[in-house]
């Protein structure tokens, strides 16, 4: 298809006619600044094809403010070598004329033909909508929508498929879609998209479930009804028999007979009890009587015993009384022996005192003489002490000063020696007779002088020699030596001695005196430790003691010499005292014993007397006689009772009252039980009859039948639904599969063209189309993603090459193609633009492309003819 001429009049910006004549094959670049009307030209072409000539919505095409305008578009194009002329007028002169070669069509017919040619839908009413645009909607890119391709492909899909029928070499039933829709719609009435039942189908399933459950619920009720009927039959049968026979009455009669028997046994038992009670009373009485008889016999025995007791006590007393005199005599003898022993002891004590006084006097005298001797020794020591003390006093010297002196003398000697060493030694050997004078000294013969200071040696006759001793310290030594001499002198003076030797001698003497003093002191201490005064006192004491002892001895007689010793006398006294005491105790005890035995005798006598009187009273004899008679009588009565009891017990045992009692219980219980069962049956029969005659039971069958009828109907209905659902499912699935298979066959050629352009723009990448023929998965450098995830620019470029691929595909199928790009690719950079230009140029070899742009400078290397709208407007013919 090739568009050759465009003429627009009274259309938006173009109040005056605008004509683009002689459009070329390939790319036609239509340029101009904004607002000049580029998009209006594109819009006019769209309006010529898509918009119904009758539509009133075309008023938007009127130039602004000109409601009288009649927008018109005239297009001339070639299809398969035939010339098509389209003239479309809107609003005021609404018309559509189409001439194809020599054929002329108008209005609706013309528009239908156009739609068929280009592959779009004629708008139903009003403005044409995107969904109607079909193939042109895909190939004509509006400003700013180049990236949005999905919608355009969807709108074009059926046209694409119809157009491509020949290409895939098969009859692709594009009309199958309406069948699929119809099947889907019928399926949708029964099934959800997921294949689950819905609407009436679902309701019927639930209805069947509910009814089935309800129908099942009848089973136990029917069973209960039938069981009740059976039970009633059984009960009625048994009831009739028991009602007739009344078995419990027979049992009650038997029980009554047993009761009579038991009453007889009871009477016997009562008699037995009363006899046994009487027997027991008799036996008790017998025991009491026997006791009383025994007591009576014991009384005389007691009297004899009492008599024997009294005799024993009397004998005992007599024996005691006989012993009394002997015991009193023994006591008397003991007392006398004691008094004698006391006298001897007093004598012995006097003799003892005398002897001890004599001894004391002798000892005191001896002590006195000893003490006098000591006194004399002490006196002599005192004298020695005084002498030593005097010697010590005389040789007294200060030891400290002595030490200083000794030190000073020693140092002085050392100084002197050093002085002599340092001093100038003047040796001389003079001829006899010759003398020299050194200071005041005259030197002669042979000798040596030490000069420690300057000296003048007069050599008589010759003059004099001044000798100046050398060494620096000679003077110093000389001075020290002199000082030391001075201090020695001062020390000697203070000690008041002429020399060190004397001082030392005195010190030695003093030490000797001190030692002597010490020795004497020790001796004194030994001899008179408490001192001299104590010694004197001791002596006085001894003398006084001796005097006292002598005085006492003077007043005493001389003691008897054959007396026992003091200890012996004391011992004798002690032993006699013990004997006396013992004798006293024995006597006292004896007398106590006597008193007791006398008491016992008296009470034994009284007891005997009492029993004796009791035993011999008349009343007692009478009691004994009565007792014996009573005893005999009671024994006879008891014996009679025992016989009667034994006989009766035999009779009772034979009757066995325990078993008779059990019989009564057993028979009564059986009777009651049987009767109760009978009544129970009656009640149950009544209950069952009430139930079976109740409305519930009677309506059961009706309800069950009604329910089962409903269920059967619902089940039939459900089966119908199920069959229809299965059929629709199958049909829908098969149709879908067929449809998809067809689509897949169309994918391959489209993919081929897509790859062709993709290699130019995005080498080493791939773009896959999906089943709806939409570009879908984009793969580059091993990464895969959805087209929609790419950048805006990339999507726009993808959109362009996809459309170019569709155009190639359509052309291959022999369909007309016209590509329009309205200000596309503004988001592409210069580099990418260059590759796009190559793709466009390549496409332009096969298709006519109208390229509208406001940036002609960006596209001046497209190798295309450029139409400058501004210039065209200016050059417009009048």
């Amino acid at each position: 298809m090739k568009l050759t001429d465009i003429r627009i009049e009274q259309f938006r910006q173009f109040r005056q006619a605008l004509a683009l004549e002689g459009l070329e094959d390939g790319i036609n670049l239509i340029s101009g600044p904004n607002e000049i009307g580029k998009s209006t030209v594109a819009q006019a072409i769209r309006a010529a094809f898509f918009e119904r000539y009758v539509t009133s919505t075309a008023s938007v095409y009127q130039p602004w403010g000109d409601s009288a305008a009649a927008p018109s578009v005239d297009l001339t194009f070639e299809v398969d070598g035939e010339r098509w002329q389209l003239a479309k007028r809107f609003l005021k002169r609404k018309r559509c004329d189409l001439s194809i070669g020599t054929t002329t069509l108008s209005n609706d017919e013309a528009e239908a033909r156009l739609a068929n040619l280009m592959g779009f839908n004629v708008a139903a009413a009003g403005a044409s909508k995107e969904k109607d645009w079909g193939i042109p909607g895909l190939l004509w890119i509006e400003q700013g929508s180049g990236q949005a391709i999905d919608g355009s492909v969807a709108n074009a899909q059926s046209h694409l498929e119809a157009a491509l029928e020949s290409l895939v070499g098969d009859i692709a039933s594009a009309g199958g879609d309406d069948i699929i829709h119809a099947v889907a719609s019928q399926r949708g009435e029964l099934l959800t998209p997921g294949g689950k039942p819905r609407n009436d189908y679902l309701k019927t399933i639930q209805q069947v479930e509910d009814l089935a459950q309800k129908a099942e619920g009848f089973a136990p009720r029917v069973a209960r009804y039938q069981e009740s009927v059976d039970r009633l039959g059984e009960l009625q049968q048994v009831h009739q028999i028991t009602q007739r026979d009344r078995p419990w009455e027979n049992l009650r009669e038997k029980a009554d007979a047993a009761r009579t028997q038991l009453a007889e046994i009871g009477r016997l038992q009562q008699e037995q009890n009363s006899d046994e009670q009487a027997l027991a009373t008799h036996r008790t009485l017998l025991t009491q009587l026997a006791t009383r008889q025994a007591e009576a016999e014991q009384l005389s025995e007691q009297l004899q015993q009492r008599e024997r007791d009294r005799g024993i006590v009397q004998t005992e007393l007599t024996a005691l009384e006989e012993k009394t005199e002997g015991l009193e005599r023994t006591l008397q003898q003991a007392r006398e022996a004691y008094q004698s022993a006391r006298g001897v002891l007093q004598q012995a004590r006097k003799a003892e005192l005398h002897q001890s006084l004599q001894q004391a006097r002798a000892e005191a005298n001896e002590q006195a003489s000893k003490l006098r001797k000591v006194q004399q020794d002490v006196e002599k020591l005192r004298e020695q002490e005084a002498a030593a003390r005097e010697s010590s006093q005389n040789n007294r010297i200060d030891e400290a000063i002595l030490d200083d002196l000794s030190t000073a003398c020693s140092e002085h000697d050392q100084l002197r020696i050093r002085l002599e060493t340092v001093a100038t030694r003047l040796k001389f050997q003079l001829v006899d007779g010759v003398t020299l004078r050194l200071h005041e000294d005259i030197l002669s013969g042979e000798g040596e002088v030490l000069l420690t200071e300057a000296a003048v040696l007069d050599v008589p006759g010759l003059g004099r020699l001044d000798i100046e001793p050398g060494g620096n310290d000679l003077g110093t030594l000389q001075r020290e030596y002199q000082q030391q001499q001075d201090s020695i002198d001062a020390l000697l003076s203070s000690l008041n001695v002429p020399s060190l030797a004397i001082a030392q001698e005195r010190a030695e003497n003093q030490r000797k005196a001190q030692a002597e003093l010490t020795r004497i002191k020790e001796l004194l201490h030994v001899t008179a430790p408490d001192g001299i005064e104590a010694l004197a006192t001791e002596l006085d004491t001894a003398l006084r003691q001796a005097a006292e002892a002598a005085e006492r001895l003077e007043g005493m007689e001389a003691p008897n010499t054959d007396l026992p010793s003091l200890d012996t006398a004391q011992s004798m006294l002690d032993s006699t005292e013990i004997l006396q005491s013992e004798a006293e105790q024995v006597l006292q005890s004896h007398q106590h014993q006597l008193a007791i035995v006398r008491d016992r005798l008296e009470s034994a006598e009284k007891e005997w007397q009492r029993l004796h009187e009791q035993l011999h009273s008349e009343k007692r004899h009478e009691e004994l006689r009565q007792l014996a008679a009573e005893l005999t009588e009671t024994q006879t009565a008891a014996s009679t009772l025992e016989t009667a009891i034994a006989e009766r017990q035999l009779r009772i045992n034979d009757a066995n009252p325990t078993l008779v009692k059990q019989d009564i219980e057993r028979l009564s219980a059986s009777a009651t039980s049987q009767e109760n069962m009978h009544r129970e049956r009656e009640r149950e029969i009544h209950g069952l009859q009430v139930y079976l005659q109740s409305a519930e039971a009677l309506e059961l069958a009706d309800q069950q039948v009604e329910c089962e009828t409903e269920l059967a109907y619902a089940q039939r209905r459900l089966a119908d639904f199920e069959r229809r659902a299965q059929a629709l499912k199958l049909l829908y699935t098969l149709l879908q599969e067929g449809r998809q298979k067809l689509t897949r066959r169309l994918q391959a050629p489209l993919q081929k063209h897509l790859d062709h352009y993709l290699a130019m723009l995005f080498p080493n990448s791939s773009l896959q189309v999906d089943e709806a023929l939409k570009p879908d998965l984009f793969q580059r450098d091993g990464e895969t993603g959805k087209l929609s995830e790419l950048s805006f620019g990339a999507r726009e470029q993808m959109g362009l090459i996809s459309r170019l691929a569709y155009a190639d595909l359509l052309q291959e199928a022999g369909r007309p193609t016209l590509i329009m790009l309205d200000d596309s690719l503004v988001h592409s950079d210069a580099k990418r633009r260059d590759t796009i230009k190559r793709a466009l140029y390549d496409a332009a070899q096969r298709h006519q492309i109208l390229f509208f742009t406001c940036h002609p400078e960006n596209w001046d290397d497209l190798g295309a003819k450029t139409w400058d709208l501004a210039a065209l407007k200016a050059d417009r013919p009048a």
């Binding site: 068929n116 009927v229 009633l232 039959g233 009859q689 005659q693 059961l700 059929a727 629709l728 049909l731």
Partner: protein, 375 residues
């Protein structure tokens, strides 16, 4: 010369859940009408008695209304009627019979044979030896006591029982409620009137099943009749005549569609079937799309005319011809789908492929009848 009407198996209260509600109601209603016809027949034929050999009621728990309707339907014949409990309406401790009596719904002309024994109808000249079921089922021969049951001389001895005569009926009849095949002889019966078998059936010259007066299932031959029995005197051989009483004719057809004329035959037969028919139709084989339409029309017409028509087409395959497919304009993948469905039909018993094919064909036909959008 006693003459009596022998009938049985009224099965009052039987429900027909396999039919839609209207037909079920009409079929149930027909059973009461059958009683009325029996009464009328007995009157018209001057019968001395009507003997019903069991299963008057289909269930023990028939509603009170329906119990009354049974006795009301007997109006035309003044009696006596002897009604014997069968296995469906056994004389249990509590039964449809005790209820009927409590309701005081039983007219004096009706004798209920609730206990085994003798009912002597002197006016009619009949001594009826009754063997009612008093349990739902029994394995004892309830007619055995007939042998020792004496009746008044001069009366015709008629046994009335419900069960299976031993060794005579098909094996699939359950062997409960057995009746000795020699009972007629051992009990010196002039006639043994039996119930339980729903078709009229002669067992011997003195022993018959009357069958049900109104059919209620597709099996059984000779259902829908009653017997009128004439016996000149005790010991005479009875004369038995069969009288149709059924209102509806129950039929079951199985037709295979193999050749083109099979369909024509079926259509003709359907057209010839009288309206009181209850028809159960099962069709197998295969038809073309056009033939299927013909069949559908015929079934639709017959369905409206007959009392009931139930057609089972699940074994029928629909095979469009090439021409039919072309006519449907089933091109491209739609044509493939038709082909696939055709093939699947042959491979499976599942009706889904056939149904799917019919739906698709219907849609394509509809499309064909619409005006073309573009020429």
């Amino acid at each position: 010369m006693p003459r009596f009407l022998h009938t049985a198996d009224w099965q009052i209260g039987r429900q027909y859940s396999r039919f839609d509600a209207t037909n079920a109601a009409l079929l149930a209603e027909a059973r009461y009408q059958a009683i009325a016809r029996l009464a009328q027949l007995a009157k018209d034929e001057s019968c001395d008695a009507v003997l019903v050999a069991g299963d008057v009621f289909d269930t023990q728990t028939v509603s009170e209304l329906n119990i009354r309707r049974v006795f009301n339907a007997m109006e035309a014949f003044s009696g006596p009627w002897v009604l014997l409990p069968g296995n469906h309406d056994a004389a249990l401790s509590e039964s449809v019979w005790t209820r009927a009596m409590r309701m005081e719904a039983v007219p004096d002309k009706v004798h209920l044979a609730l206990a085994a024994g003798l009912i002597e109808l002197e006016t009619a000249g009949l001594a009826i030896l009754c063997a009612p079921l008093t349990q739902r089922n029994t394995y004892d021969d309830l007619t055995a006591p007939f042998d020792n049951l004496d009746s008044s001389p001069g009366l015709v001895r008629i046994g009335l029982a419900h069960g299976s005569v031993q060794g005579v009926l098909a094996e699939d009849i359950d062997s409960t409620n057995p009746i000795s095949a020699t009972r007629v002889d051992t009990a010196r019966l002039d006639y043994l009137a039996l119930g339980d078998w729903h078709g009229a059936k002669r067992i011997g010259e003195r022993c018959w099943y009357s069958g049900t007066p109104e059919p209620e299932r597709f099996r059984n031959n000779d259902a829908g009749a009653a017997l009128i029995v004439d016996i000149d005197a005790p010991g005479s051989v009875p004369t038995v005549s069969l009288h149709r009483t059924g209102q509806y004719d129950w039929q079951q057809w199985q037709r295979a569609m193999a050749v083109a004329t099979d369909l024509d035959e079926l259509v003709k037969d359907l057209e010839a079937t009288p309206p009181h028919t209850v028809l159960d139709l099962k069709i197998s084989g295969q038809l073309t799309l056009d033939e299927e339409q013909t069949l559908n029309r015929a079934l639709s017409v017959a369905g409206a005319r007959l009392r009931s028509l139930q057609a089972n087409l699940s074994a029928l395959a629909i095979t469009p011809t090439e021409a039919e497919i072309a006519e449907l304009h089933a091109e491209g993948y739609i044509g493939d789908v038709i082909q696939t469905l055709n093939e699947q039909q042959a491979l499976t018993d599942d009706p889904a492929p056939r149904d799917a094919l019919l739906i698709l064909a219907g849609l394509l036909r509809e499309r064909g009848t619409e005006p073309e959008a573009s020429a």
